[in-house]
Symmetry: C2
């Protein structure tokens, strides 16, 4: 990062830069208000908050839809790009990408999608509670129909396949023909590894369960301390509570949330390190490109790679658990369950469950593979929404050995499809694969990283992540980040090695 808004920018690009800064600032308003809605807003504020979001989104739209943007892009691309510093050239390219995607969808379709998505989500909540797929089918069918139309239009505008055009909105640059072989490779070894691990677990003494209750006040203190240990700077961040943990806010004002349960401290504790991984990424995005497309994260898979590097690679590793064990005993009182060896067993238990969000590291990718195959078929028109439960159950049985007992624990469990988010799911597993590859490269290139984790010092790891991932913003895509950091494109080998190492021997 050498140039920035302080350097004089050529006129057309400079005007685009200013307009995107304003769009970005309005998006930051939405981010903070969205945090507020989940964390602090009193219930009666909900309707007014809806009006506020609508007004913000209309204001953003007015800026982004200004026809002058297209003209400015043409001029900047024709006359200015060759003189732009690299990061601004990348920014210009991403501005064009956003513009292409935006103009591809007529306003009528955007409005219909927003309405259909809200309606479907509302109905879905009841349908899931009652495990009643028939109740959601009409709303889902409408939403899938509109999403197919959007996918086709985006495909026309971008030259991508329809599903890829959707996925590109979540993880730029990722394509089905890149993912499918990776997922096939996973499928070739995961089921056997899971079976072997379950058999080994059945033979072994089960881990000790820590005895609660675990006072919330103590958990809060511990969560804050762990976030700081991981590297969160509370001069530029907050840690609060909400129904579902998330990381939000803005790069200079990162807001992470967790939820505490008195009978289980591990949930909040592992959530806080996971969200802290997201938070560090956001915090370390290139400051000279704040509120610009290139200053944003590189996509959801890269984001997930950063939370999983911290949670799965670092915090569930032997080194860190050795440091953590006495910290837990200090906080909650002595308990043999807090021995490092027991923590290792406890937090690596594998189960064949029906629910993705409760899944362990080893079975999680199978949940994602199932969803990826079903959603590509749905968007391609090879599967109709009415056929979803049957296809889900068959697919689940093929991967896990048994179908789910009902649709609530089957195709109704996740919110994504019912809000029209098709093309998002692969990011979870691409992130896990990327985390393993990045962490391997990091620990090989700098021995201080593993040594640091074993004494609760994350600074060497953060320094590596900052240089090799965070500082790129969105200037590189997933494969670009991985290649720049490791010398190779995204690949399964390090993830496989990680899983074998952690779960392959007992």
């Amino acid at each position: 990062m050498t140039a920035g808004p302080a350097t004089p920018l050529p006129p057309a690009y400079g005007e685009l830069f200013a307009r995107h800064a304003e769009i970005g600032a309005l998006e930051e308003c939405s981010a903070i208000l969205s945090w507020d809605q989940s964390v602090t807003m009193p219930p009666a504020g909900a309707a007014a908050r809806g009006e506020q979001f609508a007004a913000l989104s209309a204001a953003t739209h007015r800026l982004a839809a200004d026809p002058a943007i297209g003209t400015l892009l043409d001029r900047a691309e024709a006359d200015e790009v060759s003189s732009l510093p690299a990061e601004h050239a990348a920014n210009l390219m991403l501005m064009r990408r956003l513009h292409t995607r935006r103009v591809a969808l007529p306003e009528r379709l955007v409005a219909d999608l927003a309405r259909a998505s809200t309606a479907c989500e509302t109905t879905w909540r009841g349908a899931r509670a009652n495990s009643d797929f028939a109740a959601i089918l009409p709303a889902l069918s409408e939403l899938v129909g509109l999403t197919r139309e959007a996918a086709a239009r985006l495909a026309d505008a971008t030259g991508l396949a329809p599903y890829d055009a959707l996925m590109d909105g979540f993880q730029p640059g990722m394509r089905t023909d890149r993912i499918a072989p990776l997922f096939d490779e996973l499928e070739r070894f995961l089921p056997q590894l899971i079976a072997a691990r379950l058999a080994a677990q059945a033979r072994a003494t089960p881990p000790l369960q820590p005895r609660g209750p675990f006072p919330i006040a103590v958990q809060r203190q511990l969560a804050r301390r762990l976030a700081e240990v991981v590297g969160v700077d509370f001069n530029a961040a907050r840690l609060d509570e909400s129904a579902h943990p998330f990381s939000g806010g803005t790069p200079d004002d990162v807001r992470i949330t967790v939820r505490y349960r008195e009978d289980d401290f591990a949930q909040a504790l592992l959530a806080v390190v996971h969200e802290s991984g997201h938070a560090l990424y956001q915090r370390n995005l290139p400051p000279l490109l704040r509120r610009q497309p290139a200053g944003d994260a590189a996509g959801m898979a890269v984001h997930e790679s950063q939370s999983l590097t911290v949670e799965m690679q670092a915090c569930r590793g032997d080194g860190f658990l050795g440091w953590l064990a006495p910290v837990l005993a200090d906080a909650f009182g002595a308990d043999p369950a807090f021995d490092a060896a027991n923590l290792v067993k406890l937090w690596r238990e594998v189960r064949r469950g029906f629910i993705r969000v409760e899944a362990d590291e080893l079975t999680y990718p199978l949940h994602v593979i199932l969803r990826f195959r079903l959603e590509t078929a749905l968007i391609a028109g090879e599967l109709e929404p009415a056929g979803l439960p049957r296809a889900w159950n068959a697919g689940f049985a093929a991967l896990f050995g048994t179908p789910p007992p009902d649709d609530a624990r089957g195709c109704l469990q996740d919110i994504h499809w019912y809000t029209g988010s098709f093309g998002y799911f692969p990011a979870y597993t691409l992130g896990a694969i990327a985390a393993a590859q990045l962490f391997q490269a990091a620990t090989v290139s700098d021995p201080a990283i593993a040594a640091g984790l074993a004494r609760g010092d994350f600074r060497p790891l953060e320094a590596w992540n900052r240089t090799h991932v965070h500082a790129h913003g969105a200037m590189l895509d997933l494969d670009g980040v991985i290649r720049a950091a490791t010398g190779r494109g995204l690949e399964i080998a390090p993830f496989r090695q990680h899983l074998l190492c952690r779960y392959g021997e007992t």
Copy 2:
């Protein structure tokens, strides 16, 4: 309130209604983000928050400055106003008023004022800390110059005198020739009343001081309880902490803040009831006119009348203090200082201090009278900023008997002028006068009000305030509200009677 957005509105007015709803929603975004900035935002978020406010204000400006608004106003006034229900006719009139004020100021002047105000405020913080008026004089002179220009332009556009045109932005309808006689009347009896009270205090046994420390956790609980007692509904409100107490947020999401000190519980406790008075007004504004000009508060003096009705009229009255005394003893432990008779003495002590915000009810109006006279002279060009310290000291000595020891405790103490807020100060004392007049009318018309306060029941008082003040929104101005509620325009007699009754005999 009979009609609202549910009723079909005529086309031009309907379009204006929709546009103002959107402007109002963006203003609500600013209100919540402004609360967030004072209460929750981490320090590093400040610069980005500045960008967010700027983008929001630009978005609001684009809507409000659309030339179509003028055309729509012309059409609605010509063709539709006669068929509009009363509250919409009032809303249309207030839309026109906002439009007239907005177009009166060229964009260049608005931008210059914003810049000069920010620069002056920043310099003022250091100047006040060092009691260095010379340091702020250039910035203040520039700001006063720009404010005079704005006042002249607003005067041209509205037909008001320049100072009145500024004041009209804070308290619509209020005029210098309405205020001056009221303030003269105050000046005729206040100094003697203060002198007599001070002499009586000197003769009497001083009140007992409660012995601290007063644990913050206990104060927090008590503050929340008192807010609920006063009528704050935490389904639609929050109580938090910030450096200076305020009431903000939106009608459906009211946010009040206080600050706790372990050595003095009274500050937070009296602040919470004061801010709760503001909060109830905001909460009870007419819901069918949400985010419309007529659905807003009637002005800063009316707002202050509502906080002072609760704090000064109700909560410092004998009846409520009788209820409160055992509540305090319960919360903090028995202490003879918590006897009701002692609380009455303690919270009605009068002192001739230099600082407005620390002033008691009896001396407060003199602080305001001084500022009102100086700022009318400043805007009229009869006083130049360089002459402010001398004029302040002479004016203060005339009202209080002695000049302040330095400018920090003199003309530098308040932020208002140094952010360009000229015409605001009268609202504090107009609010106190209005509170006395409203409270007198309320307690005379409904004996349940005083009876309620004596047992900590504010519902009868809130019901009266809601009907007679809150429900009008901005459809009536200060005199209009007072006349509708009491049958007479704003007058000194009830305030004088209140002060005589409370401070005239010891």
